[in-house]
Amino acid sequence: MRPFTYARAGDEAAAIRAVSSGGRGTRFLAGGTTLYDLMKLGAEAPERLVDISALPGLASFDTAGPRELVFGAGARMSDVAADSRLVAEYPALSESLWKAASQQLRNMASLGGNLLQRTRCAYFRGGEPFACNKRTPGSGCAAREGIDRGHAVLGGSEACIATYPGDWAVALVAFDAVVDVAGPNGARTIPLQALHREPGTTPEVETSLARDEMILRIRVPATPLGRASTYHKIRDRESYAFALASAAVALWMEGDVVREARIALGGLATRPWRAQEAEAGLVGRPLTLEAARAAGEAALRNARPGHHNAFRIELGTRTVAEALLIAQRRA
């Protein structure tokens, strides 16, 4: 591992200053469960780490507000997953956290770091001798002709088909969340929908954040759709695995009829994937088994299989349908 220097930031402003003035090789460090892991693999090689994991203000969260839920970027996944109001009023948000990783990792991992976790593509993680445009821009993509079982069927490009592996961002995108960020030139608010990029021709650029912009908090508009929601995650094993396919779904029902629906896909796309067409098709109709299945098909309509991942198109379709029926039972 490349040597680096380590500093603990005293507050948010000092952290931003340190990362900004430190230059290209300087990075924020939160729980380290992505960054340190990838440093061991040589996929990340920072020269300076600015530790923000002990900033007390960054770790607070408030799920009781009448207008919005506010999550400090430093809050730990385990603490937020266990919040009783979240469990009751926004089950999809809680589930997206407790169904991720393990309790050990959730005790370490921050909500902000979670959003910025990087792909689990084995070629990206493994590096040499495999080509990877994300790891070494312009080198090629070993996954395109290799084992692409876990790779994206939505949002891929010639250059990269790496899946965005996170769960929390998928649930957040279904709830129209925003992130407040701050950099050396001030603060701004980004819709979560606009935080992650599709790979296009530059798969190494994964988000719309500048290197020295820090996520301060995540905000979710309060909504009655929270109660009838679920994060349905299908994996190779029941627990402690990344999604083969997942769906975050939230419903507003009037009797049998759907007034509003939110659907986002995880584990299938190169970024958290909102399926608005599928949502629109449900509105004003009774939520039958057939309607749920049709919504699943609409959500995956533009999916493109590779060599080993075609099964995940049907799996994703069924995951959406099943998630809708689970959410309906909570309405």
């Binding site: 591992m1 040597p3 220097t5 380590y6 603990r8 693999l41 990783a101 689990r120 493994g126």
Partner: protein, 205 residues
């Protein structure tokens, strides 16, 4: 997981292991958390060492570390606490589980410098002074909850935390909240029984 990094297991501490062995840990003076919490633990220059204070199983330790060292390597190689095991070094197996300020964590993905000012409990620190075993240790023996034993220290540290967190309501909940600890020998049935048994004893005691 299908993202196993083809057998690579770079050991960050091994780079300067000899140096580390020399530079380290004879001192065990008591350092209060307050004295170190504000330290901006940096030394400029790429070969810089960082001073780290830890309370390990109740004993204060002061170490001079390469910032690359994981908490796991530090425990094992600096402090000769080899109970916590290195299974994967990537957060994927749970063998390295220890408690940091009372919470279970993966020590392989924790930078030792990040633990500065914190209290660490390892498997070596769970049994009472009188030499008896922690109820969870005893339950693992009673229920034959191991074969080779490599995963066991991590299982026990995770299991103790699992009980304290209140995630032992039923078998499914225990399985879910113990899923971060893999057992290659497949002793899961015994592990589950041991946790159920020890949970009632821990609550009673």
């Amino acid at each position: 997981m299908d993202d196993k990094p083809d057998g690579r297991n770079d050991n960050p501490a091994s780079v300067g292991r000899r140096d580390l062995m020399i530079g380290a840990t004879l001192a065990t003076a008591p350092f209060a958390k307050a004295a170190t919490a504000q330290v901006t633990a940096t030394q400029e220059g790429m070969t810089g060492r960082t001073e780290v204070s830890l309370t390990v199983n109740g004993e204060a330790k002061r170490l001079s570390l390469d910032p690359r060292a994981s908490l796991l390597d530090t425990l094992r190689e600096e402090l000769a606490l080899t109970g916590a095991k290195k299974g994967c070094d990537h957060g994927q197996c749970g063998a390295c589980t220890v408690h940091l300020d009372g919470r279970r964590i993966a020590s392989c993905l924790t930078l030792a410098v990040q633990a500065d000012g914190c209290a660490v409990t390892t498997i070596e620190g769970v049994s009472p002074e009188d030499g008896s075993l922690h109820p969870m240790q005893q339950a693992f023996i009673d229920h034959d909850a191991l074969q080779c034993g490599y995963c066991t220290p991590g299982q026990i540290m995770a299991a103790i935390a699992c009980v304290r967190e209140g995630h032992v309501g039923n078998a499914d909940e225990i399985r879910e909240y113990m899923s971060g600890n893999l057992c290659r020998c497949g002793a899961y049935a015994g592990i589950l029984a041991a946790i159920q048994d020890a949970a009632s004893k821990m609550r009673a005691g």
